[in-house]
Symmetry: C2
């Protein structure tokens, strides 16, 4: 429960919010000590390409290629292929930049050649000069579906094409029962390699739940000796990015750090050791602590690179004497 | 043998040289009267994409998108995806522009959805506003292989990756025995729709032979009442574009319009009615005529749009009183 700072860290991440803290952790840790397991429930095939939006966000963020203003995609991006695709009658609701397209083409080519998504992700990360280990949560397909009344929307359709507008009633992670958690990550846990586990400030329902829903995975995290530290993705009742707060309201859950804490504590008993909330949510600390987790309070909003590293260092020092 | 000008024309074409005359014919004919059947022996899969280089050249040329200086690809092109692909370890010897990539992506997507190459080509041509009918020579794969000593090079490897440098000993058109000539084109011929057949100034060995090698196809051209007119791709002993003259020398054939005429007359007896040569090759006319074809002489080098239309009009008027 009180590991030395600088040891290996296993981080769980979805897209943008999670990638920010992952970047801070990568900066704060020695090379090779950060292991990030990434949600692939958003993966989809589009225009014949295998697209892994959260993995791509991690790759672009950790390699310094990302468009930080926009929150997705590559900086200094162009959309010439997409414009031409539109002219040829292809769907253009998913904004594929020219540089971004290269990632999807290469991934699809390597998968078609029989490589696993783990192998392909490691290859792409190495080519982009990323020192951290980036793992898809599973090599088997798991597909998040958003239930909106009597409609069942594949995640990217809900997220991009419908701009998160439909009210949400629930989620399914199709294929998750038959999927295996990434064996390399399971092996790290079996060998007690991580000195701490960090659940990044990602959407609980569509970024972290798909990862924790993999058979045996959250139990493996619970049972490993490393402390599990979650950083709340909700600050002062709002999601910093994405639809988390809107989803919580629609599901009848308080859209607050307390609502997030209850979600995890009810669904994954004894998983969390520490719950990091923003200083602005300090009044929620006693109720969260009543759920049986230690609450740590700091500034969690990450705008600058310094913010990211500072939060990462805070997370790495939690529990140290 | 003396159709009215303005009737339907069936043109056979490879890439750049053929596309130039096809553009002239499209300009010279009423809308919808030009039918172009295109070599697909150069088609290949690359980075998971189905690429049809000659069809693309036709599409880009007929739609006004082509890069005329360069002779291939799209004007005002960028290569941002390709640069990123190179960084990710993909092969980059085949220069894929960002706009060009859209064509390959859309084709591959539609083929994967079960559409035939004919249907996909028609869809792309319509989207690009092309009034001519563009047909792949077959919906079945035929793959031109270049025999160079004990090496057998897929055409694009010979043409692009090896820049046509290896000496050529012969060619095979793998799959041609089992391939069916485009049924729409066969149906035009069965219905005597074309009033003339034009074999564009394309490489005899790797652009036109693959088309004529389709079972029953050259015989159908020979047996149709329309005159078959070939425009020599060799002018004054040189190919205007591409490796035709070099190949002829390596195969021990005179690299001249006469060598071209002999190739066609020996391989496809009684196919050709007219053989169009450049004015600079006028001295070859008697020997070509001795092969049993009528020789027509004009300026065949197409630099400007006017050159293309003028040659097209010449071809459309051959045999008229």
């Amino acid at each position: 429960m009180a590991p030395a700072a600088g040891g290996a860290v296993l981080a769980l991440s979805g897209g943008v919010g999670g990638a920010k803290l992952a970047l801070g952790l990568a900066d704060a840790l020695p090379d090779g000590q950060l292991h990030v397991v990434v949600n692939t429930g958003d993966d989809f095939r589009h225009l014949g390409l295998h697209i892994s939006p959260d993995i791509d966000t991690l790759l672009y963020t950790l390699s310094g290629l990302s468009n930080e203003q926009q929150g997705w995609g590559v900086a200094d991006e162009t959309f010439r292929a997409l414009e031409a695709l539109g002219r040829l009658g292809a769907e253009t609701w998913f904004l594929l930049g020219d540089r971004d397209l290269a990632t999807h083409l290469r991934r699809t080519e390597l998968l078609a050649a029989g490589r696993s998504l783990s192998e392909v992700t490691a290859e792409l990360a190495a080519r982009l000069g990323i020192g951290a280990h980036v793992y898809p949560m599973s090599d088997q397909p798991v597909r998040t579906t958003v239930i909106c009344g009597d409609r069942r929307l594949p995640f990217q359709h809900y997220f991009v094409a419908e701009r998160c507008e439909p009210a949400v009633d629930g989620f399914t992670f199709d294929g998750v029962e038959g999927a295996v958690p990434n064996p390399a990550v399971m092996s790290l846990l079996a060998d007690d390699v991580p000195e701490r586990v960090v659940i990044c400030p990602s959407n609980p329902y569509v970024s972290i739940d798909p990862v924790l829903a993999l058979p045996g995975f959250w139990q493996a995290l619970r049972d490993c000796p490393a402390p599990v530290i979650l950083v709340s993705p909700i600050v002062a009742g709002a999601a910093l990015k994405g639809p988390a707060a809107k989803m919580m309201s629609e599901l009848g859950v308080p859209a607050s750090a307390l609502g997030v804490a209850r979600h995890y504590c009810e669904r994954y008993p004894d998983l969390l050791d520490y719950f990091v909330i923003d200083a602005s949510d300090g009044t929620l600390a006693p109720e969260i602590a009543d759920l049986g987790v230690e609450v740590a309070t700091t500034a969690t909003v990450m705008k600058s690179r310094e913010d990211k590293v500072r939060l990462a260092q805070f997370v790495l020092e939690i529990g140290h004497p």
